[in-house]
């Protein structure tokens, strides 16, 4: 296998948080967070190659072996049913996936729902287990508008603080799952690069333990 560890890092706000954690466990490489259009970075000192990718694509890079490890939200892993090892919870990017809708919508009385979401698979699995039948409408952003313009009865979306929902006169009916950022590894790399992958896992766990003490 090619030497060194290939790491898929999410771009944007989550990427900054992940990078801060990597720095704390001794793997800082400042060039990554500098403003540039560069997407691949080689940290020769540690033998790491970083790829900056869209947060929702991190698990795909890892699953298909283009990256050995990555950092990704649990929502993406659940939605894509990614075939990767989910090794550790970083404790960042904490939020919930919830069913929400207009305050006056009789959610609990309805057996059939029109659901707008960016998570069609999570939604389908959830409503199947709850016994409600649903029409899933897949959207790619600004989900909160859907019930307001009668595109859907409810939405399934990420809720962090609930402010956006409140400002749009929406409320949470039910929580589906809580999510946070996970340290993941490709299943083949886990064997061939076990020493490096396990070392990062140990350092991440130690950091978490220190925080909890």
């Amino acid at each position: 296998m090619n030497g060194g560890l290939k790491i898929a890092l999410p771009k944007g706000r989550l990427g900054q948080k992940v990078y801060d954690i990597l720095s704390k466990i001794g793997y800082s490489y400042d060039e990554i967070m500098q403003e540039s259009r560069k997407l691949v970075f080689c940290d020769e000192k540690n033998g790491f190659t970083y790829f900056l990718v869209k947060p929702s694509d991190v698990a795909t890079y890892v699953e298909y072996g283009a990256a050995d490890i990555g950092f990704v939200g649990r929502d993406i892993l659940l939605e894509n049913k990614s075939n990767v090892y989910e090794l550790c919870d970083l404790g960042i990017g904490k939020c919930r996936i919830c069913v929400a809708g207009k305050r006056d919508f009789p959610y609990h009385e309805k057996n059939h729902l029109k659901v707008a979401t960016i998570f069609p698979n999570i939604s389908r699995d959830f409503f199947r287990s709850s016994g409600k039948t649903v029409d899933i409408i897949t959207l790619h952003g600004s989900i909160e508008i859907a019930p307001l313009v009668k595109l859907s009865d409810v939405i399934v979306d990420i809720v962090e603080t609930g402010t956006t929902l409140k400002e749009n006169n929406l409320t949470v009916f039910e929580e589906i799952v809580s999510i946070s950022t996970r340290y993941i590894a490709n299943k083949v790399s886990y064997t061939y690069k076990n020493k490096e992958i396990s070392r990062i896992l140990d350092l991440l766990n130690s950091l978490k333990d220190a925080k909890n003490d």
Partner: protein
Amino acid sequence: MFKKELFTQKEILSFELRELFSSQGYSLYQMKTFEPYSYYLKNMDFLSSKNILYFTDRDGTLMALKPDITLSIIKNLDTAVDKHKLYYSENVYRAPNASGNFQEILQFGVEVIGRLSDEDMFSLIFLAAISLLFFDDQPVLLVSDNSIFQKLIEIAGLGKAYSRVFAAFQNKNLMLLEEILAENNTDQKYREILIRLLSLHLPLKKGIEELENLLDDEDFSENMAYLKGLYRYLEDRGLKTEVYLDFSAPEGLRYYDRISFVGIIPGASSEVLRGGEYSNLVKTKDASYLASGFAIYLEKIEDKGSL
């Protein structure tokens, strides 16, 4: 004399493996193009894909177009024979998948079925391990014992959470396992065993030692003796393939009822070989029968070259 350069890497590998299998006493199985759909419908739990292509015959019988080789072999077994050693290289067909395309998939594999001894079972795992050496000189075979896993789940009272525990093991997802153990108020003893088992990834010998420390009660003595027998068998034959004990390996836990394994090579994104013991399936044919087999994914060769 054939010129090697006229063949693709995949074709050459296929010839070499067929030569290996036949040198070990395996003979070629050829499947009929159409077989009754009702047989596959009855055994749906044992199929990796439910997307069977079927047609109505002139007499109204639904006929399936080559859905799976292993099930076909079992259907056509002559139970008067004590031991069947078969290999196959056939295309199977699937109805449209999520992306809407019909699929033609090459299935290449080996089965040993019959009144088998432990040695017969071990020899198939040995064959899987040496087959991997045709792909790469640093292959690894990840071995799991599903009967241990299933027994533990039962004893720990986690039967209802079986699918979730299985999902946690498959992805080495400790967070999910801890969540399930807490929800079910699992006894501390089994909590510790399951947590350790989930992250276990050790060379076979060390793995067995670790397992022996974890599972010290009599319930597992037969399992431990079997695993030790496997280790001795592979060791005595000077196997060059590394073998690891890892309980995340199997995907079809309900299908494989004792040892299961996957083969990996550096540079491929996922396994190139998968197999295991599936005696429960053949017992429906003959109660005294046992079975084990593996499939090789030749298409992963191209995958490897691209990395």
